[in-house]
């Protein structure tokens, strides 16, 4: 199976639910092998976009080609080329981890030997015989990733993969995602966790009210939209007149003439002990670009 260079090509995708426009004409592309993040607050249209791209619902207008398949006309072929990890943990809780995966093998007509391979990948082999209802949230999430990977899809959709996970479980899930990306799987991930996107994604797009408001690498977005700032460590409190000897830290904007003046003053007073550049966070960029908080 030869995969195209562009794994997702969305063109002016729109989706209406009754009178509400959930997705209002978004266009983007995802290259083979990259982790692409679709970021936005709850209700921004991320999940609806994923549903359209995975063939679960038809777009009201626009078109999309995913893994070389038209999402409306070639739905059967599309389903064999994608893996989807849903926002909600939809596993068969009374069945064991192995049976959950065996069931997917039966559905896709795969040899059951694949079960052990994916269980190894998500580090759940030793819990294979245990019922899913005894699993922690993180283990369930990893099992859902394993299920989505059974048929070796070249493109994986992850909808809020760290939602509701404790920091350790979230870290384990992120490790698995990185591992998959290193192995060449293209990943489209939706999240409202900006740190997660910053750590994982090669490119991110911000979606607000069903519209894409930015689409670039996290680095470029930070450079283009983030505030240029310095973190200055000073000897003593700069506001104090009695010569307090404790150290304190101040953030100064390089674009603010007042801050520039203050820095020059402290330099001449020999108060500056250290200067560090301070990069904007993706969350700050999002707030500036979108005008809303991510969650």
């Amino acid at each position: 199976m030869i995969m195209p260079e562009l794994m997702i090509e969305a063109q002016d995708l729109r989706r209406n639910f009754s009178s509400k426009e959930a997705v209002a004409g978004i266009s983007f592309t995802t290259r083979r092998g990259e982790i692409f993040g679709l970021l936005g607050p709850n209700g921004a249209g991320k999940t609806t976009t994923i549903r359209m791209l995975t063939g679960q619902i038809d777009p009201s207008s626009g078109s999309a080609v995913v893994a070389g398949c038209d999402v409306v006309k070639e739905r059967t072929r599309l389903k064999e080329r994608i893996g989807v990890v849903f926002e909600e943990q939809n596993l068969y809780e009374r069945l064991s981890a192995r049976l959950n995966l065996q069931f997917s093998c039966w559905l896709y007509g795969l040899p059951e030997s694949r079960v052990d391979e994916v269980l190894d990948l998500v580090r759940l082999r030793d819990r294979a015989k245990d019922k899913v209802r005894t699993f922690s949230n993180g283990m369930r999430q990893r099992l859902m990733i394993a299920r989505a990977l059974l048929h070796c899809p070249p493109l994986l959709f992850l909808d809020e993969p760290s939602r509701g996970l404790d920091p350790i479980s979230a870290r384990e899930v992120r490790q698995t995602i990185k591992q998959l990306s290193d192995a060449g799987t293209t990943i489209l991930l939706t999240t409202h966790l900006m740190d997660e996107a910053d750590q994982l994604c090669q490119r991110v797009a911000f979606i607000v009210n069903g519209r894409l408001v930015a689409n670039d690498t996290p680095r470029n977005l930070k450079l283009a939209h983030g505030q240029r700032a310095l973190l200055v460590t000073l000897a003593g409190d700069p506001g104090s007149q009695n010569g307090n000897s404790a150290l304190c830290e101040m953030t100064l904007s390089l674009d603010d003439p007042a801050d520039q003046q203050r820095l020059a003053t402290w330099m001449t007073q020999d108060k500056v002990r250290a200067i560090h550049s301070r990069e904007a966070t993706l969350e700050e960029v999002f707030i500036e670009v979108a005008g809303v908080r991510p969650a």
């Binding site: 639910f17 549903r51 995975t54 063939g55 679960q56 619902i57 059967t76 389903k79 064999e80 994608i82 989807v84 849903f86 909600e88 939809n90 596993l91 068969y92 809780e93 009374r94 069945l95 049976l99 069931f103 997917s104 039966w106 559905l107 896709y108 007509g109 299920r147």
Partner: protein
């Protein structure tokens, strides 16, 4: 439709049903009821049936009487006259310790094989043996004769009934025949509860969304639920009926009504599953309509004579399950007539088709929005 997907989902469901305490209890209920009826029947009706038999040629026909009663004591008579004198002529009232009498000619089997029409004389004490039981015995004797002389014409059998019961008493004596029908009808609750439960759980737990991005289509999911529901329903109905000893009378017809009832049950289940979205709602609704399987039992078989004709007995006939009960009990009692069976089968088939079409219409509407579930 993809056979692979249907079989995969059915296989998963078949396993999941057994791992789910609620559905496992549902499955075991008809078996439990059948065993309960058998135990109660044994406790209440554990009396010995005395039979007086004249069978000098040791014909195998005697085995028919032996197998027709759970606890039978056979006494051998010296002559046919001895049996005739013990019972007396047909229709007379006479105190006798024997429930049955049978006179078998010495060369009965050989005469049958030679193409003759040997005479069997059956004597029945109507105060001890009910009309239906007597009819079933007569049928079994005829079948025996056919099995010996097939394709020759069977033996001629004359029946003399002493102490004939009043119609009401006779019907009450045959009430035991209703138990098998009751077990069969109550077992149909399984399909009606199981199929919607399976469908609703996929929606409720959001696993349906996972299936919708797999090679399975919504039709595959529905077909798999129907398949697994029908298989479990058929197995349970047949096992429960077997435990209660319901395979009497017209056995092929009994099996036909088991099949039709099972199809009706899962079709109704499919309709419920197409309407409700949660297991709680489907469970509650299935429980609420369980009366449609229970109520008709009191309006068929011996109860028909007891209740007579009144508006309620007519009203009950709007329920398709009445025709399942009527067809099944007639088949079990070996009293099915062609016209009655044709009416029962037609009504049940029409109901199945109607339920299925409405369910499919409802599910097609749902399929359009399935991903939003």
């Amino acid at each position: 439709m993809h056979i692979r997907s249907i079989l995969a989902i059915a296989r998963k469901d078949a396993l999941d049903i057994l791992l789910n305490k609620a559905t496992l209890t549902l499955l075991l209920t008809p078996i439990f009821l059948a065993v309960l009826f058998v135990v109660i029947g044994a406790l209440l009706g554990s009396h010995t049936t005395n039979a007086l038999v004249y069978n000098p040629g040791k014909s195998g026909v005697e085995q028919i009487i032996n197998s027709a009663f759970s606890d039978i004591k056979i006494t051998y008579a010296n002559s046919p006259g001895n049996v005739a004198a013990t019972f007396g002529p047909d229709g007379t009232h006479k105190n006798t310790s024997y429930a049955l009498g049978l006179v078998v000619p010495a060369d009965f089997d050989a005469n049958l094989r030679a193409g003759g029409h040997p005479q069997l004389n059956l004597y029945v004490d109507g105060s001890q043996v009910g009309n239906v039981q007597s009819q079933l015995l007569l049928r079994a004797l005829t079948d025996y004769a056919r099995s010996v002389a097939n394709p020759q014409p069977p033996a001629s059998i004359t029946v003399a009934t002493v102490n004939p019961p009043s119609p009401a008493n006779n019907d009450l004596q045959d009430i035991g025949q209703v138990y098998s029908t009751a077990i069969l009808l109550s077992s149909f609750l399984v399909g009606t509860s199981l199929v919607p439960g399976l469908l609703a759980e996929e929606k409720e737990k959001k696993t349906l969304r996972m299936l919708m991005v797999s090679p399975a289509s919504f039709s595959d999911v529905v077909a798999a639920k129907l398949l697994v529901g029908l298989v479990y329903q058929l197995l349970l109905a047949m096992v429960a009926l077997g435990i209660k000893g319901g395979y009497t009378g017209e056995v092929p017809l009994v099996l036909l009504f088991v099949l039709l009832g099972s199809c009706f049950s899962v079709s109704l289940g499919l309709l419920i599953g197409s309407i409700f979205q949660t297991t709680t709602a489907t469970g509650a609704f299935s429980g609420m309509i369980s009366f449609i399987y229970i109520l008709p039992i009191f309006f068929v078989g011996p109860f028909v004579q007891l209740l007579g004709s009144n508006p309620f007995t007519q009203l009950i006939k709007v329920l398709p399950t009445y025709y399942i009960a009527d067809g099944a009990i007639n088949a079990i009692q070996g009293q099915a007539t062609f016209s009655a069976t044709l009416l029962d089968v037609s009504v049940i088939l029409a109901s199945i088709v109607l339920l299925f079409l409405v369910a499919v219409w409802s599910l097609r509407r749902q399929a359009a929005v399935v991903s939003t579930i």
